[in-house]
Subunit: 301 residues, 2 copies
């Protein structure tokens, strides 16, 4: 008997990753497509790109989307990255004849589900996943089950306030974790600091800031120190509030973890309750590229 | 057929409340005992005080304790209020022949369970309860189930950081919500402010600060303003992170809610994501005295 497969889709602002995934989350085949066109046309082109998978026994399709999603209705309420508002994405996938049923979920929530399987083989029951990219997202697993909150919007770890009245955040508030640790914020802060010193600014991205910090550049080091301090404050609150067994960092900016994670963990250990701080491990993902797409696939029951 | 009853115990630093509770959380009878003696002797005296209940069909005993509890083992790992460390409380209750099984739980977690039944009749699925007393505790209900975390320590809402490097907190950290909104912190701050103005200080407690603020006293008003601002920051993080349907305030300091809650809610509405901030109601408990003892009883399956 052949075991059933699932089709996973990780729908980001620039790239759509698709994968054929087995029941344990292992990826058997992959396809990547650039994100373009209107949502309906995009879904049609995605379907064409995986036409050669349709002879396989696929149980259903799971889609992770960067945005505010209603997982019950399969609607993307809002996505700043994609420029979408109230898109009935599950309907589009069904109409394009993707193997059904179709599950639509926030991409960080999907990544948390992927992490529970791929990184921890189901052994983490209370897991917080931080997706560190341009912004900072998050997914939550409590008592072995995904937690989505009342409107599917839970997990916005990046928009916990770590510095009341602090740096402005893309969300409109101030002092959010994302305003220090998000890739865009890191770059924005460093750019301003370089300008103030009369130094040339471009090109600049988190990877370049990583390299410069390792080479001893003071501005880059300070950008990561600020990010680490903000993370330390957020970790303290998360550990005291949620008593997780694991906090996992993933996404491109997590590559800089050696620069910002040790001081953040030290700060949390100093500030949080002992029983809770001793119970948590804080680690960087081993399979960062696969968590979102595999997690989306595994959302299909 | 008579329905089964449950015996609830709310074990605080100065007073132990006990109640005979029916399956819906209704309290049929009550007994109060002063907290004194060693834990084992205290449990014996509690048992004597409810001897007249023992002819009733009692299904089991639920105990809420102010402290760090291991609910699986029924051990109070640490309670600052009671001066206890590693007390096998469930064993003591069984040895004293309380109707078994015996469930031991953190008191704020028990109060959250009580609130889910008494305040919302099971209609709140994602509920955060803040217990505002000398300190600030909390209990969490996710998807209709109590969430205790990995070591039973989850829910320490009072020890989320709202002001990095801010006022010192009893827990040893700085800038916790409790350092502004806890009854002891309110009084400590106001006492210092009065002293600085050369005004007489005692007596002072949260109730007196409430009355003075209502009468226009500037120090008292500022104490509540600071508390409200700290709560607003915590609410913003809680709503973005956990997307609850309800946040409930209970405990003695919650009586001051008209002074601090409206600006806190306004701050949250301004700072948090719209989808989540619209989905949450923030209310003060109608049955604050009963939540802990009824919730403890209802923990018995």
């Amino acid at each position: 008997m052949r075991s059933w497969l699932r089709l996973g889709v990780d729908l980001g602002g620039t790239l759509v990753k698709m994968a054929l995934v087995d029941g344990s989350g292992r990826i058997l085949d992959r396809v990547q497509v650039k994100t373009e066109k209107t949502p309906r046309a995009l879904v049609k082109s995605l379907r064409k790109a995986v036409d050669h998978w349709m002879s396989r026994p696929i149980r259903g399709t799971g889609v992770g989307v960067a945005g505010d999603v209603d997982p019950h209705k399969g609607i993307v309420r809002f996505s700043a990255n994609l420029g979408w508002r109230n898109v009935p994405l599950a309907d589009y996938f069904r109409q394009a004849k993707f193997p059904g049923p179709v599950a639509v979920e926030n991409d960080a929530t999907a990544a948390a589900w992927g992490a529970a399987h791929l990184e921890f083989s189901g052994r983490s029951k209370n897991l917080i996943v931080l997706t560190l990219g341009t912004g900072v997202g998050g997914g939550l697993l409590f008592d072995g089950r995904l937690y989505r909150g009342s409107t599917g919007t839970a997990g916005e770890v990046g928009h916990m306030t770590v510095e009341e009245g602090g740096d402005p955040c893309a969300c409109g508030n101030r002092g959010c974790l994302e305003a220090y640790l998000g890739g865009a914020s890191l770059v924005r802060w460093a750019r301003a600091a370089y300008k103030q010193k009369g130094r040339s600014v471009d090109p600049l991205d988190p990877k370049i800031l990583e390299d410069r910090a390792r080479a001893g550049d003071a501005v880059a080091k300070e950008a990561w120190r600020r990010a680490g301090h903000a993370l330390g404050t957020a970790l303290t609150s998360l550990v005291n509030l949620l008593n997780p067994d694991t906090i996992l960092l993933t996404g491109g900016v997590a590559k800089g973890a050696p620069l910002f994670l040790p001081p953040a963990v030290k700060q949390m250990k100093h500030g949080a309750f002992k029983t809770s701080s001793r119970a948590v491990r804080i680690v960087v993902a081993k399979h960062p590229a696969d968590l979102g797409v595999a997690g989306a696939a595994l959302l299909v029951q």
